[in-house]
Assembly symmetry: C2
Homo-oligomer: 243 residues x 2
C-alpha cells in the first residue's frame, strides 16, 4: 500500500520528479545552451515557445475561475498580471515577443502563432484542459515545475550569451524578470499543496499532476528537436527564413 | 478574395489536402510497410495507435451529442457501433487489441494506455476537443481523412504481410473490416459537407478542419518516429519488451 507522506516527504517526492523529468534534462536544452543550435533552430524554439507563454494567463485564468476563496484568488491573479503586464509594452508575453524579435523573427509571425508545430498546440491545450477539468489541487500542483525553472534559466542565459553572437542580454530580458516571480509563485504553491494534499489519493494525484506537467514541457522539446534538429518539419509549419 | 467553390471544386480542394498532407506520406509509414521496422517499433505503433482507436467512439459520441436531427444521428451512430461492436469480442477496438496481441503485446498494457507517448494523448484529445467546440460542419469535415484511408490500409497490409514473418493475416483482421466501413462513412460525409458548406467562410473552415485532422495523424507518426526510430523515448513511456 502507498503510505501517507508527511509534508517534507511529499516535497521531497515532488523534487525527485523534477530531478528526473524536468526538461533541463532534455537533449535540446543541452544543444541550445552549449551553442550547438543554428539561428533557425533558436528561432523555431522562440516561435513555438511563444504560444506556450501566451497561453499561460489563459491557463491561470482557468485556475482563477475555479477558486472560490477571494484570498487565494488575490494571490493567484498576480501570475496573470505578471504575464499580461500593466500596459502593452510590459509583462512576460511582451518580453517574449521582444525575445523572438531579437532573434530576428517577424512579430506578426510570432503573435499569430499559425506556423507553430501542431504538437506545441496540442501540448499547451492539454495543459489548459488539465487545469479546467482536474481538481483545483491538481491544477495548482501542475504549476510546480516552476520549482525547477531557475536552474534552467541560469544555464540558458549564460550559455546563450556566451555561445551565440546574435543573442544580446536585452533580447533575453524575459529571463531577468522570471526567476524572482517563479520563486515567489512556487514558494507559495508548494506550501499550499503540502497543506492541502492530506490523503494518500491526494498526494498521489499531486505527484501525477507534476509528472503530467513535466511531460507537457518535454513533449514540446521533443517536437522541436524532431522538426528542426532532425529535419522533419511537418506540413504547414514554419520552415525557417525564406522558406 | 477567396472565391466560392461549387461542390465539385470543394471536393477537389479537399482531396488535394489529402494528396499533400495525409500520413501515407509520412516517413514512418514507408519504414513500416517496406519492412524496415523492428518488432519493438511495430509494437510501439500498435500500442499508441490503440489509444486513438479507442477514443474514436468518444469522438463520434461527441459529434452525435451535437446533432439535433434524428435522421443524421441514425447515420452517425453506425460509426460508434462499428468500433464498439455488438458484444465484447466484436468491433474495431476489439480487433485492434487482437492486432496488438498478435504483435506480442500484453493486453493490459494496451488497454490501460498508461504507457503511451504523451504526444499521442495530446493529439487525440485535441481531436476530441475540436469536435466538441468547433461547428458541427467542421467536426464532420474533420472525419474526411477516411477518404484517403483505403490506400494506406492496402499498402500497410500487403507490406506488413510480405515483410514481417511475425505478422499474420489474422493479426491484421482490423484492416479487413475497415475499408468498406470507411468508404461508406466518407461517401456520406463528403456529400453532407458539400451540401452544407455554402459560404466562402464555411468552405474555408471545412478545408482547415481537414488540415487539422491530417496534422493530428501526422503528429502521432512524428512522435512515434522520434521516440522509437530516432531513439528518444520520453520519461514514463513504454520502452519495449523487458525494459
Amino acid at each position: 500500500m502507498t503510505p501517507l507522506m508527511n509534508p517534507q516527504e511529499l516535497e521531497a517526492a515532488l523534487r525527485q520528479i523534477g530531478a528526473t523529468r524536468y526538461h533541463n534534462l532534455h537533449p535540446l536544452h543541452r544543444l541550445m545552451h552549449e551553442g550547438r543550435c543554428t539561428k533557425t533552430q533558436l528561432q523555431a524554439w522562440a516561435l513555438n515557445r511563444y504560444y506556450y507563454q501566451a497561453m499561460i494567463p489563459v491557463k491561470d485564468s482557468t485556475i482563477l475561475s475555479r477558486i472560490e476563496d477571494a484570498a487565494l484568488r488575490r494571490i493567484w491573479r498576480q501570475r496573470i498580471i505578471d504575464h499580461d503586464g500593466e500596459h502593452e509594452a510590459d509583462g512576460g508575453i511582451y518580453r517574449w515577443i521582444k525575445l523572438a524579435e531579437g532573434l530576428g523573427l517577424d512579430r506578426e509571425l510570432v503573435v499569430q502563432a499559425r506556423a507553430i508545430l501542431p504538437t506545441t498546440r496540442y501540448a499547451v491545450e492539454a495543459y489548459i484542459h488539465f487545469c479546467a477539468t482536474k481538481t483545483l489541487l491538481e491544477a495548482i500542483a501542475s504549476s510546480l515545475t516552476e520549482l525547477f525553472s531557475s536552474n534552467i534559466i541560469g544555464e540558458r542565459v549564460s550559455g546563450m550569451l556566451a555561445n551565440y553572437d546574435f543573442v544580446t542580454r536585452e533580447t533575453l530580458a524575459y529571463f531577468t524578470a522570471r526567476p524572482v516571480q517563479a520563486q515567489r509563485d512556487s514558494d507559495f504553491a508548494i506550501e499550499w499543496v503540502k497543506e492541502h494534499a492530506r490523503t494518500v489519493e491526494q498526494q498521489q494525484a499531486v505527484l501525477r499532476a507534476l509528472e503530467f506537467k513535466c511531460d507537457v514541457l518535454w513533449a514540446q522539446s521533443d517536437a522541436l528537436m524532431h522538426a528542426y534538429v532532425e529535419g522533419h518539419v511537418p506540413p504547414g509549419a514554419w520552415r525557417g527564413e525564406g522558406a
